[in-house]
């Protein structure tokens, strides 16, 4: 029930109606123009995005805190129910990991001495920066997240974002106190990778679905289901050897990779500050040695 006679009369005047129609046309044209412009020249649009995201970041940061407490609480309740089985499983896993640790230490030492013997140029230093995800839920057409660190914390464009499990994506926009990470499943994501067993190179291309596709694979390459995919370091953006996913489907012209990262569980990301020196970027066989 509305009794707003005056406003109805005001709206009904023909001049007003005409002005409104004109304004609508103007706004539609502006929106359409923005669509076209933002596809061809992204620099000013990016600056605008960064400005808005920077302004909103403190609010999102504030909102994220209680939300993650709630999810953590739910997680704790879940864990309490099967504490015993979990304990048993962890004990077993710990046993196994200790063996792995011994093996890895031995291999690392061996690797280092072999490197020295062969005079391989040392891999560039990496620095890690841990940051919290303060926004995702981009909807059906984008796969990005906002993180609560920006230029003032040392975040730079194109840094790799990882978790303990593996690669998440790369930084595409950097504000003063917030940044946006393009997930590797996004339709615009292209990541140079290498198949761990065969050392076949490829590019991992997202398509907004859960399983990104391996493209630019050599015709004679034979990816196997279950084979791990790691970053190749080509292009110099990412350090080589970051685990990305495992091959889960091999069909004619359609090789799919399941990312290692469980997207819905990620709360914090690590950004890798990585500046390859000119030498290592040029050497073609800098891939195999990681860490």
């Amino acid at each position: 029930m509305k009794t707003r006679g005056s406003s109805v009369i005001r709206l009904a005047t023909p001049v007003r109606a005409w002005a409104q129609r004109f304004a609508l046309a103007l706004m539609l044209c502006t929106a359409f123009g923005l669509m076209v412009v933002s596809r061809s020249d992204t620099a000013p649009v990016d600056r605008l995005r960064v400005l808005v995201v920077d302004a909103i970041a403190p609010i999102l940061d504030l909102l994220t805190e209680p939300m993650s407490n709630v999810t953590r609480l739910i997680g704790t309740a879940h864990e309490l129910t099967d504490l015993y089985a979990e304990n048993e499983r962890l004990r077993e896993e710990n046993q196994r990991l200790l063996q792995w640790h011994a093996a890895a230490t031995a291999l690392e030492r061996e690797n280092a001495s072999l490197r020295q013997l062969l005079k391989v140029a040392p891999l560039p230093a990496k620095r890690y920066l841990t940051t919290r995800i303060i926004g995702d839920n981009g909807g059906a057409f984008v796969r990005t997240v906002l993180v609560s660190s920006g230029a003032r914390d040392g975040v730079d464009k194109n840094q790799a974002a990882i978790t303990a499990d593996g690669l998440v994506g790369r930084v595409i926009e950097v504000g003063e106190r917030a940044a946006r990470v393009l997930l590797l499943t996004d339709i615009n994501s292209r990541i140079p990778v290498v198949l761990e067993r065969s050392r076949d190179r490829a590019v991992l291309a997202g398509d907004n679905g859960p399983l990104p596709q391996l493209v630019h694979l050599r015709p004679d390459a034979s990816p196997m289901i279950g084979e791990r995919v790691v970053t190749s370091g080509f292009g110099g953006l990412f350090p080589p050897g970051i685990p990305v996913g495992t091959v889960v489907r091999v069909a004619q012209d359609d090789v799919r990779v399941m990312p290692l990262v469980a997207w819905d569980k990620v709360e914090f990301l690590q950004l890798i500050e990585y500046q390859p020196t000119d030498m290592t970027g040029v050497l073609p066989e800098s891939g195999p040695g990681e860490r």
Partner: protein
Amino acid sequence: MMTSSSFWHRLDQFARQLFPFALTIALLLVSLVPLRLPAYSSVTPSFMVMAVYFWTLYRPDLMPLSAVFVIGLLQDLLTGGILGVSPLVLLTLSVATSSQRRFLSGGLFVTVWAGFVVNAAGAAILAWLLNTLAAGALYDPRPALFQYLFTVGLYPSLGWILARAQRTVLRPA
């Protein structure tokens, strides 16, 4: 309405008139917060579609097209979507909804919901088309479809909350 010319009264009036817009922006921010539910982020319901539909139906005077435009623009800037898509979608939704206003707003809630089912479908299809057009790549329509279903399913609850908010904040004005 005691002293209608008083400064405070006018400020109060102004704040109330800004309420639908401010609430919608707040909704946009809250919807960005990560919930860490499996596959939620790609099917996050379009709260903006719900809010614009609701306010266009019940208080079109407080949700003018210019506000709809700004909301769409902010949504694109914050979610990282292609700039311009959401303003186009929301403006179209607003115009379409207000043309059916006489038919929808007086009716039962079921009618309003049915109207939303139709209008939100149009908005979802338009969003998919515009994204596909702008990106030059065919998007998988399934996430958009699930997002739409989720949005339609959630409308009664959000509509109820918005109706409560409208009653408590705007009625006394």
